[in-house]
Every structure is written in C-alpha cells, then in structure tokens.
Point group: C2
Chain length 339, copies 2
C-alpha cells in the first residue's frame, strides 16, 4: 500500500475560489461575505478524477492524506473571523472529497490562524474536523503573517493550546506555511523551504517534546534544507548542549519526500532514518512540469523512492508504515476496511 | 593550491569587540563612539596563529579569503553612520591581518549597509577596500534588517549601485546575512541557510545577469537548500518561463562547500557543475565541534572534498581554479607571487 501524506486540493472548483475573493473584498469594504455557493458533487468529482485521482492511479499510489490548498490558506489576509469562515469552507470541501472518494482521500484540515490572534478557534476547528468530519491531522502554519515572521517560535507557549488538542486527539500536524506577502520570498521556491528549515531549528533550540512526548510533526518538502545540512544540525545541537538529534527531536519529527530529483531523495534516504520519512508528492502542486533530464514529472516522487537504494522493509515504511504510525486515525480507518 | 573562500575573523581581539559594544551604547544614548582602541600587531598575530592559521595548516589549506565576522556585522543595529564606522573598523582590522600574513590571508570587506538606507556608503567603502586595502570582494547582506526582511529582492534596482561598482572593480560578492534579531530565526541554523535559498530564488525570478553579465555572486553554506532541491529549482525556472538554470543564473552564481557532512558534499558535487563550486569551510565559525561519527571537526570540509568521487581536474577547480576565476584580483595577487 502506498499512502501519499502530502496532497492539496489545488484544483478546487472555481466557485470556491471565487467565493474567497468575494469574502476578502467584503472584508476590505467592511461588509459580510456572501453566502457560500452551491457546488455539486459532480463538480467535485470531476475536479478530482481528472487531476489528483488520475495522477495517483497513473503513478501507482493508493491514497492521499488530503488538505486544502496550502498557498490559499493566506492567514495574513482578513482577520480571525475571515480565517475561521475560510477554514471551515475549505475543510468542508475536503470532507466532501473524502466522502465521495472514501477509499482514496482522507482529510487533514486547515486551521483558522490569524497573525497575533490566540489559537482558540484553531483548537475548535481541529476538534470539529477530527471528531465530526473524520480528519486525521492538521496543517499548522508557523508564520501566519505570510513572510513577515511575526509569531513566536513553535516552541513558545503561544502554540501550546493547539499542541494540547493535537495530543488529546492523537493527530499530527504538518508544519506548512502559506503564500508569502513579502516580495523577497517566492512562495514555493523560498518561503516553503525556509519555513521547514526554520521550524526544525526551533525544535532543536527548544525542548518541546519534553512537554509533549507524543506530539508528531511532519516537516514537508523533504525537511527543507535540513537533510542536506544534517552535519550542521547535529553540530549545532551539540553546541547548544542538546542530546543527539535522534533522541532530542527525531522521535517526534518526520520529513516527507517532496524532493524533486533523484540525488535529493538519495541524500534524504542516506542521512535520515527510514522510520522518519513519509512518502509525499505535494501534487498537484508546486512544480508541475516534466524534467527534461528524465522525461517524467518533477513531482512523480514515487519514481525516486522506487529507484533509491533501500531495503524493501524501509521502502514499505516510507510508503505506508510510517504514515499509519504518525496518523493513527488513518491506521484505524484502514484497519476498519480490513487493510 | 587550496584556497578557502569563506573565512571570518571570528577571533578578533576583545578590544575590537568591546569597542563595538561601546559604539552601540553611545548610539543608544545619543552620543558619539569613543576612539577606536590601540590593538597591537602581536595581539592580531596571536588571535590568528592560534586559530585560523593553525587550523588551516593542520587541515592542509594554503590560504583564506578573509572577511569580518559575519554575525557581528549586525546592520540592523544603529544607523547608517554607525554601520559605516563599524565597517571601516572591521575592514581595517582585516587589512592588518592580510598585511601580517600576506601569503595566507586576503581581504573581503563588510559593507556599511543599514535598513532602508541607500547604498552610497557601501559603494564608497567597497571602493576604499579594493583600491586602498587590496581587498578582492565584499560580503553583501540581502537582509540588513536582521531577520525582518524589509529590503527589496536582490534583483531590485535598489541594489544596482553596488552591482555597478562591483562590475567596475571586477570583484564578486558573497551573499551573506548577519545575525538575526527575529527570535524565530536561529542565526547559523536558519537565517543563514534561508538567506542563501531566498537569494537564489530571487535570482531565478529576476533577470539580474542580463543587466550585469559579468557580475559574480557566491552563495555560501553550499547554496542553502538549493542543491538538495535542485529539481524544484529547475522546475520552477521552467514554470516561470526562464531559460535552464545553467544559462539563466549559473554563469554568475557559485556555491561554497560549507556543508558539514560527507553526504551533503557528495550531493553538491553530484548536482552542481564543478565549475560552480568553491572550497570553503567558514572556520572558525558556525559549527565548532567534532562529529562523533567521524572523529573530525564538522567544519573540516577538506576531508569531504578529498573523499568525494571527483576527477582530479574537478577537485582542482573546487580547491583553487574557480576561486581564481571568481576573484580575479586574488588571481592577480597570486600571479605576482609567481603562483
């Protein structure tokens, strides 16, 4: 079984995206958003079947842990109320996808974060999504300011309410920023990768997992720069008087395989324990083209994992065993289906 | 010959560092800095002989392209006048090191940048350092705000005066941030690496080298996350309608080898053309400890290059050929010494 831990609904129907534009326009004018539009099951089916589902089948994966489009979360837009409305709309749409394709998609929610706002509404939305919609995790944005980086580090007590709820519900978070409103940071080429690197270093500096020993965080895009600079991070942990990374953070931190070339995946598999790697593609996502060097899509990451020098048992962990361990509610759903 | 392109004077005499503290204290109180202290040649000799020079000899390199401590540039402190005073003091000290050890150290200057300030004083200081002190390049901080990222991208015309002066003097810049005043960013574990990644993506998005075809930029720390995500960057260039990276940026951009483990260096050498890699160690610098896995210092990067599967001709480029090409004033100085 092959589980893609990192898929976004980047192909949501236009009515959904248009509503977001109306919502933000209404906010700017001081009014209320229009009613959310009717979107038919057929529209949702079509948007999935022609894109994510087609690619999943062509490439040979079985299911996707599916969340709203990350770049569209845009927590820096509007205010807490706007973010709450938008997160609910996005998560309800993900729940409809999972309802229409229950064998293939399972939900992860967007949180209604807003710069400077407390996390109460995020806690409530996570609870709603997990207990009412059957979701198995959330995407947590370490920088809701969208490239201004005004929030405290993830190890700060500001974040503890969401970590407490995650621990209570036994769900992980993928640490995933959204679009950047800072012109220095290209979203998928700089902001995403920087956030991954930044979050990992915050976890080294702090001692978050002493307070939350069962908390699980997935750092996407292959862990940002971290595996490439693994020696730097091991050395910095040592300089900071922290235990070795395997004890200090790697019982709780996982990297996905959204690294779009063979040498990158080979490095990831060489330096990171296979128990900490989750298969992911981020498709249909950041990089849509075909690599002229291989003739295959950059984001067809399964090809790289298949070609990596890995024992079969490790490949099985990366493809599904780790995901079932990190997302126990997914594991439960699969076991209920006899899988 | 082995040239380390990335060394900082992290061991400067205490009187120098103390003066900086006094300067900033005076600025906060609205006064002028005290006179710069007398520092003897012996103090400078000792600070170098016991540290950089000892390590250079132990590890088997011949010379270092040497600049003021990057984390102490702190362009976000004080104002333009304060940065100008501090840059001159730092650069004059580097010139003294190069004067005392002319066979081993050659200078690269700190620029008196200040958030929001025009680059006139940076242009003047670069000219002074190159024409009067014999320096061969500069360190350019893409984020003088120190982790607030308030400057425009490097491709913006804001930066053109310094690129014009660099082109006129035929000197490169290392794109190097300083310390972070934003608590989310650990300096050497996040801010440095993020800045490298960010700068590279800005260069992909823009078309800077159409305006400055001979400009040369060294992106340190192995290019941040870039080589690990080389497929992402090739794909993003394609999505943005840019030429392949080899044409678009890699005639002008170089990465150093400050990557502190063998698998990282192996990846760098596997994906980046050897003509674009410059040997560097960043010592005595970011990561000072000994890797328990190897028994050697993390930042003894020569060991990794020696062990990398490289043809001798490529290793020679990385060790000195590329540095002589990227820093033509260094090449000229070496040729004058018959090297």
């Amino acid at each position: 079984m092959i589980i893609d831990c990192h898929g976004h609904y980047t192909t949501a129907p236009a009515a959904h995206t248009d509503w977001r534009a109306s919502q933000l326009a209404a906010f700017r004018e001081g009014g209320r958003a229009p009613a959310y539009p009717a979107i038919s099951d057929d529209e949702i089916r079509e948007s999935i079947e022609q894109n994510q589902l087609r690619l999943l089948r062509e490439r040979g994966a079985d299911m996707t842990i599916f969340s709203p489009r990350a770049s569209a979360m845009a927590h820096h837009e509007g205010d807490e109320r706007v973010s709450t409305e938008w997160a609910r709309a996005c998560n309800d749409l993900i729940a409809r996808v999972a309802g229409l394709f229950p064998d293939t998609f399972i939900g992860v929610c967007q949180l209604p974060q807003s710069p400077g706002a407390p996390l109460d509404s995020s806690v409530a939305e996570l609870e709603r999504c997990v207990t009412e919609l059957g979701f198995v995790g959330c995407n947590l944005n370490p920088d809701p300011s969208g490239g201004r980086w005004t929030s405290p580090p993830l190890t700060d007590r500001y974040w503890y309410p969401i970590f407490e709820k995650m621990s209570e519900l036994d769900v992980p978070a993928m640490v995933h920023v959204s679009s950047s409103c800072n012109p220095v940071f290209h979203a998928t080429g700089a902001h995403y990768i920087n956030a991954d690197t930044t979050a990992f270093m915050q976890l080294i500096q702090g001692d978050l997992f002493a307070d939350f020993p069962d908390l699980r965080l997935v750092i996407p895009h292959g862990g940002g720069a971290v595996p490439y600079h693994w020696g730097r991070y091991r050395g910095l942990a040592d300089m900071l008087g922290k235990p070795p990374l395997g004890e200090h953070v790697m019982k709780n931190v996982f990297f996905d395989t959204c690294v779009y070339h063979q040498p990158g995946i080979d490095l990831l598999c060489r330096v990171i324990d296979p128990g900490n790697i989750l298969f992911g593609s981020e498709m249909v996502g950041a990089v849509r083209g075909i690599d002229p060097g291989t003739g295959h899509h950059f984001d067809d990451t399964k090809r790289y994992i298949d070609a990596a020098a890995l024992p079969d048992a490790d490949r099985a962990k990366i493809y599904s065993g780790n995901a079932r361990r990190v997302y126990p509610r997914l594991d439960k759903a699969l076991r209920e289906r006899g899988l």
